[in-house]
């Protein structure tokens, strides 16, 4: 239980020694994609993906939100999930840390494979698994009544990490990593909710990375922030991708273009197109993608 937290190594260097896959892995996607089975099988074998999603379906009650998604996410990169409201992008990343199933009436099937292991397998404890997959939410959500320090330390403390110099170190490191340390180092013991929106969101990022996850899910992390705070969050994500595999949900086309190495375009629960960001924006293969990025809908 304790071991993954007590380790002293840098987060990214621990288990992941596989080479970064060659960049244009998904070139096989050139034709329009009506048949899901064909899109995936081939490229996976060639390039080891950090996260491989297979035939993922999810929804609430009778309502199906995701229709058989197949997708490979390479390690140490930012992958943007883009699409209009209600296309299932949030549901998609909430399936990856199995937070989706915590909602009343929610269901999901298919496979989400992290390092060769299916996260939906009955032997997987979602609680342990979520320690490897950090999440940042749409609105900054620091724990109310917790101080800045306590917010960052919460994931460690509540998992049995002792108070003391080591914890102080971890908190400082996480806050530095989230580019917040200099702004809060003199007020660590004041309420986290007393910070500005942008600072709160960086505090939430610090809280997420304090438990040293390997994957970072960000669900429209800047949608509640002003342009300056948004820019800082984006810089931070670019910085963090050296160590983390980041999945970024955004409804903001420009944000995907600025931050992401690869971009996926979701529409009405389908993965319409997925590939290197540059290719997707300069020569989209699907007319709907083209329509979306040129602002004709969404």
């Amino acid at each position: 239980m304790k071991s993954p937290l007590v380790e002293e190594e840098e987060p990214g260097t621990v288990p992941d020694v596989r080479p970064v896959p060659p960049k244009p892995t998904m070139m096989a996607m050139s034709k329009p994609l009506p048949v899901p089975a064909q899109r995936t099988a081939a490229p996976v074998e060639q390039a080891p993906a950090r996260i491989a999603v297979r035939n993922l379906e999810a929804g609430y009650g009778n309502h199906k939100v995701l229709k058989s998604i197949n997708m490979d996410v390479p390690p140490r990169s930012v992958t943007a999930i883009m699409g209009p409201s209600g296309c299932g992008k949030s549901t998609f990343i909430r399936c990856i840390n199995r937070l989706h199933e915590e909602t009343h009436g929610a269901w999901s099937r298919g496979e989400v494979i992290l390092d060769g292991q299916d996260l939906f397998h009955p032997s997987i404890d979602p609680v342990d698994m979520r320690r490897k997959i950090g999440m940042v939410f749409q609105r900054p959500n620091p724990f109310p009544t917790f101080t800045i320090y306590e917010n960052v330390a919460a994931g460690l403390r509540l998992n049995g990490f002792r108070r003391g110099a080591k914890l102080d170190e971890r908190v400082e490191k996480s806050l530095r990593r989230a580019a917040l340390w200099d702004e809060v180092k003199d007020r660590l013991h004041t309420a986290g909710t007393g910070l500005s929106g942008g600072q709160q969101q960086r505090l939430c990022i610090a809280r997420a990375i304090a438990v040293e996850p390997e994957i970072l899910l960000a669900d429209e992390p800047a949608s509640a922030l002003d342009p300056v705070a948004t820019e800082r969050i984006e810089e931070l994500l670019l910085n963090l991708k050296q160590d983390y595999t980041i999945l970024l949900v955004t409804h903001n086309i420009q944000q995907a273009a600025r931050v992401a190495d690869r971009t996926a375009f979701f529409l009405l629960g389908d993965l319409i197109e997925y590939g290197p960001t540059n290719d997707l924006f300069t020569k989209p293969k699907d007319s709907r993608t083209d329509a979306f990025i040129s602002g004709r809908f969404g």
């Binding site: 939410f137 109310p144 919460a154």
Partner: protein
């Protein structure tokens, strides 16, 4: 012309409505002001150092009743707090189940039961020394049980509301850190809701602090100090003995034929109001100091 007429009429209407609202406020404040002035003018005369310190023997003072009131309230809180917290947590975590709706209905019914009925009920099953009863006799324990039954619905619903007011995303942030649900609820949500929960507790305490009816059948009255030192308290023996309390003093002295005791009843009533106000204001001050906001809102 038309314009100005309308503006004049509108301003006139505005003044009339404002005047009516001010009148309503004054009408509401009159009973409160009348009550406080009567209480102060009749009660202040009885207040003295010896009145606070001496026992109720031969109308010397109300010291034992003050202490008794605190002890009964403390014991009532000991019963009501764990149960109310558990109920509040249950109602928020399993709020959609049938059992939860049934509990909610029962709590509402319970809060509508007159205090004197609760007193008679506890008398029958705890105090009474014959028949189907615990045969405890008139005691602090019985009084605390009666008051805790009255407190329970208030405190449980306050806990439920306090927990409900914590945004869902705080819950998800906790789960996203890889914490088990019990840890999220007990260590994060309860703490985040603690200012409102505390306010609920002290509202419930203030509500029962002035109850005489349930104590009439459960604690009786006593002319002695509730305990004869720490050793005596440690045996819990005082819990099973009759105890004095401010509401009982007010009740007994008001109906007494002796004018000096009638005067003391006013003094005790004033003390009771001061006690309730102190509880209320100190909660407010504490939550403001601890959590840096008005109570309940951080």
């Amino acid at each position: 012309m038309m314009q100005t007429n309308r503006a004049v009429y509108r301003r006139f209407k505005n003044r009339i409505v404002l005047g009516m609202m001010a009148l309503a406020v004054i009408v509401c404040l009159i009973p409160l002001a009348a009550l406080m002035t009567t209480l102060l003018s009749n009660g202040l005369g009885s207040l003295s150092w010896s009145f606070l310190r001496q026992r109720t023997e031969e109308g010397a003072g109300v010291g034992n009743a003050i202490l008794g009131s605190f002890l009964i309230l403390l014991a009532a809180a000991v019963f009501a707090v764990p149960l109310g917290l558990a109920l509040g947590i249950y109602l928020t975590q399993r709020g959609t189940t049938r059992l939860a709706s049934a509990s909610r209905l029962l709590l509402d019914v319970l809060s509508g039961i007159p205090a004197i009925i609760v007193g008679v009920f506890i008398y029958t099953i705890v105090v009474r020394k014959s028949g189907f009863s615990l045969h405890v006799g008139f005691s602090t324990l019985a009084g605390a049980l009666a008051l805790s039954i009255i407190m329970l619905p208030i405190f449980a619903r306050a806990t439920e509301e306090a927990l409900k007011a914590i945004p869902k995303t705080v819950d998800e942030a906790g789960l996203g850190l890889g914490l088990p649900r019990r840890t999220v609820v007990l260590r994060i949500l309860i703490r985040a809701a603690s200012p409102s929960i505390l306010t609920g507790l002290f509202l419930a305490l203030a509500r029962v602090a002035g109850e005489a009816a349930p104590l009439l059948f459960t604690t009786d009255k006593s002319e002695y100090w509730p305990s004869h030192g720490v050793k005596d308290l440690a045996t819990l023996k005082p819990l099973t003995e009759p105890i004095s309390s401010l509401p009982m003093v007010v009740f007994n002295y008001t109906t007494s034929p002796k004018p000096e005791l009638n005067a003391q009843a006013w003094g005790a009533a004033l003390l009771l109001v001061i006690m309730v106000l102190t509880i209320r204001l100190s909660t407010k001050a504490y939550t403001a100091w601890r959590y840096g906001g008005k109570d309940g809102h951080v």
